[in-house]
Amino acid sequence: MENAVAASPSSSSSTSGDLFDPLFNVPSEVLVDPQPFIALCGLDTVHNPTHRIIWDSFSTNRTAERLPILYRLLPTDHDFPLSKLKKSYEYGTVPGGILKKNWIRKHMYEVPALVVLFVDLEWDDVAFNEKRIACSSKIATLRTSLAGRSTRLALVMIQQRPHTLAPGEPSPDAEKITSLCNACELTLKQVFFLPHNDSLTNYVVRLETALFETVQQYYLNESKRVRGHRDAVMRMASLNLPLLVRHQFKIGYFNEFRQDKQTSLKHYQQAYLNLQQIRQDGGFEVKTVAMIIMYRICRLSFRLACPLDAISNFRKHLEVFRTYRGPSDLAYQHEAWLFRQNLTFAQLFEEAIQGGLIAVPSENPGMYYMKAADHMKARQKNCLNFPIQALPFVPSAPVDGEFYGQLILNVPAAASDIPIALYLQNCERAVNHTAWMVHLLKSAITQFKRHRCLRTALMLFNRLGDEYCDIGAYEKAQSLFAQGLGEYRKSKWSVVFSQLLLRQIKVSALIANVSEYMKGSLEAIGAESYLQHNDRVQLQETLLQILAGERPDFRNILGPRSQLGYQRWGSLGPEALKCVLEMEQLLPCIECYCSFDKESFSADETVSLTVRVSVTSPLPLPFRGLQVHLSSSAYNASCSSNDSFVVTEEQEHVLNFKFPPASDDVGRRIDINKVLLKLGGSSQHSDLTLVWSGFASGKSRKRVAVVGGTQFRLFDEETDAIHSTDIARRASKVEVSMFVRESLLVGETYRLPVAIRNHESQGITNGQLGISCSDEAGKITFSASFLDSKEVQDGSVQFTNECSHAVANLAADEEKEMFFLVRCSVGLKAQLRVVFSYDVVATSGSEASRMFHCQTESSAVLVSQNPLHIRFLSKEFHSEEYPSEKHVMPLGENILYFVVIRNASPVKITLDTAELRINSEVMTVPIKIPSYIKGLSLSENEEAQELIVLRLKESTCSPGSAVSMGPLVLTWKVADVDTEQPDAVSHIPVPDLTIKATSTPLKVHLTVPPKVTQFEPLSLSYRIENCSDQLMDLYIVLSTNDEYVLHGEKERRVKVGPRMDVVVRCAIVPINVGYMRLPEFEIHSDGDLDIREWIETHLPKTVFVMPKEIPRVVGPAVIPQPPDSQDAQFSVPDSVVVSS
């Protein structure tokens, strides 16, 4: 028997994989966007490669920039669906349904808008006429097949040899075209040429554009045709609403074919409005059609980038149908419909987001997935409440009817009296609601996570866990719950946390996960949990059962499922109850407080540690022992207790540990690493160790009470618990002092006296005295070579950056003085540190005497400065220039080298020797001058000069190069102090000498007597020395001025043989007193001899003339002195000039 019942068809695909749901599936043809349908005929793609290529150009690579067209390859004799006889519409009759099921599919895939016939036809084909006739017959066949439809026809001629015509040029084959058109009864516009060459794809795209225009026209005409029907319906006195909805929908659909989305949307909305006016009982068909129309509306709205319109339309849609609940025994159908609406909308929304839409957290697809899950849950509840009444046959899902929303049940004839509701309820039982829920919740979680709604996603985790519990997947549920628990614990949402914790405990009990169960129980029975007192007591009773080694019966906790938990726990081995539980991340009912009693202990003290254990559980908790693990494992034995104790909520348990610090730990820090608490009474069946760690992280373990947590208490001391302590050295009783002079000199070796006084009651051993300077490392050096002796011998004294030296044992109250040698290499101010360490045997408190290592130190500021400011000056032996720091010297001549030493420090120093180290290969000392500075004392800013005569060896030096000098080794000491301080030796770098070439062929020497008096003749003798190997013929000119009277020849000619000299003499009488210019001496020669520059620098130019008689004057006479009298001592007598 067939029974038509308003329900939903099942002929659509489920987007959720293999999940089955017979109700309210959106038909698959509605899910896709309509595209104009063009049928291509006459292409033999199997045998003809050209046709194959053409078909591929049409059908493949349909990217977004190509026009949206659906092509199908059909044979020329294809039977298109017959057009129904165009009866004159009976607009008044009520149709069998609203939307015919096959209509959309028919227009999308079966009735083409255009049939294109492809023929191979060349203009110059010899059999053109025959082919024309064949073509016209094919066209006629198509026309017959499409009788009654307004489907367009087009003819495409595939040509290998096309004519290429300029626009407006008459075709040479106009006659042939006309004859072809006439034979096929086609207009010229319906005939196209497709040249088959390299640019076929471009031609195909152009052809496609031309065909698309025809197609658009077809769909426009179709929508106009339907519009005519609609107008007729609207003119009726009583509105035929189902027909109106159908027409509006069809107009909308045809416009969608035309890609006119706005017009489509308008007609769909009109159809939806009209649909609302239809009041059918229950409205199943209406609901289905409304779902289809709303699906298209929302889809178009999203496509038109109006997501808000889509959302508001959808919300109105749900609002309209909210009250259409239907009969109560089929209430699940309404939930199924609501579930489907939300699911399809969520999928549409998600698709739009993938297309570039940006959603916000408050409006994202996850909300709709979540609502779909809510409705699925309601549907499942309804399903579980069905009366249990088995059918005598296995019900099959309903089959489609002719219209959307009408379906046919296959009820065997023998069971025709079974109520339809019972049949449908049995169909519903086949739906796997839980699998749907899991799928929906997972989708929702993905969406919420993507849209920054992590808390909402977390909430869905819990729901997902509940679903897993329902189907017995407890392990999965447990891991989901654990995530939620961690987050709620952290964010202090205690009510939610406690409620979830209870679920977690139940799940852990069911899968016999001991550690999770214990952790959960310890948290749940604490005062911080929001469980009822009764629940807490029951949980603790079960916990105590486990601790006592009994097999727990979970009747209190699990209710009907307790048997499963009881069995699982029974199968556990004894080792399963041995576990270590980390308490750090939890909020357990046991508080463990551990602190050192002081922040620092001295090495001779006893370290003490306090541990307090308190509980907040409703019943007392037994413990079997406690251990504290410190950072050094050596103390573990001292910080361990194996005594059993019981802690109640009122009374905390306090344990004290004491131990002496190990001598290795002196100067280190001891941390509390862990506290291990053994839970349980005397029973050996369970071995649960609770571990608290994280003391070293220094975070405050004080907890903030949660909402409503009234009975919660805080350890006030908790905030300043000391989790690590320093073991300090025993305080020293030895005094060390040093005495630094006010100012030290750079280079000086200073004996620094250090005094050590032992105030210990015992003698000290193993003493070690060290000195260092941390801030100026390398600039101050020390030596301990003469620690005990007062006399310092020069020699191999090693100076290092820091040094230390063993000190002989000192008896009680003994005093000792020692000396370090200190030397500074630069002027500085630095902190000196003297450290004395030693061992002493002492008693600490009541304990036996032990050896302690002690240390004491003293520091002082040291100031040093450089006393020596040394300049180097030089001049040529014969030169008239002043000594300078240029250090440019000629070869083969004697050089005067001056060392000027100035004392820049306020300390008076005594100079000893100044030795200039020279390279004897390039330099000699031709004249030894005794040192004048030995024993000379210099006060502040006093200067002393040392003179050295040097000569460069011509054989080893080349002009222009530099000769390195030095260093200058200066030995000196601080004056006016005791002789204990050794001599200081300063090595002073000396600037390089630059060698100048001296290849003058002539030298002129002038000797002036030391005293010149006014009006007394002064004899000048110029000795001219020929250094070359040739005879020189010279012409000498002496120019005069009015300061003297010259006797002798002013001009004369002399000849000088090679390596010989000649003396030219003259006499002058000075007229004035004071400085007098000497005659200018010029030498001219026939050759290119030019020694003017040499004469300029080597001959004296002035002489000082004394008055003849010193006049008598009253008062001290002012006698002009020659300038630079100091230099006078360096004017070397003529006789010492060594001529080569």
């Binding site: 919300r315 909300m367 808390r455 909430m459 202090k492 009510v495 939610v496 409620q499 009470a705 947590g709």
Partner: protein, 145 residues
């Protein structure tokens, strides 16, 4: 008037949650408040971004965040976020059409005022659960209205 009122601190920890005694499943409302914090955080960020400066230079923004889930059909959730990031969430029955948006806005403002008065108590540690009786009574009076 309200089914549930929640006050959350700046770290999103609950300071006070009151649920109408007529509610069968109060735990659902805890979850609702917890989930709503996602939207509150989002909305308060947006309102911070769009906040302009008024003439006096002080930052001016609307503390009232309005309806959180526009498409919710059973309950309506309204939120308010103070400048110190204290969140106040009000859940009302969506079927109660007599309730106007301005009533909600005034109610949460009064709630804010009551909260401000409450934290003047020097013994109250900011961020800890609220124990003040007067504040509890005030919140209960809003629910009972």
């Amino acid at each position: 008037m309200a089914l549930c009122i929640g006050v959350m601190g700046s770290d999103n920890q609950p300071l006070l949650i009151k649920i109408s005694p007529s509610i069968q499943n109060p735990i659902d409302y805890h979850y609702m408040l917890y989930s709503a914090l996602d939207i509150v955080e989002e909305k308060s960020q947006i309102s911070q971004k769009t906040a302009g400066l008024n003439i006096s230079g002080a930052e001016h923004r609307d503390l009232y965040l309005g309806l959180l889930y526009p498409s919710s059909d059973e309950v309506k959730i309204y939120a308010y976020c103070t400048n110190t990031k204290v969140k106040m969430i009000l859940i009302v029955d969506a079927t109660n059409t007599a309730l106007k948006e301005t009533d909600i806005r005034n109610t949460v403002k009064r709630l804010h005022l009551a909260y401000s008065n409450m934290i003047m108590n020097p013994f109250y540690e900011v961020g800890s659960p609220i124990g003040a009786k007067s504040f509890h009574n005030f919140v209960e009076s809003i629910i009972a209205q």
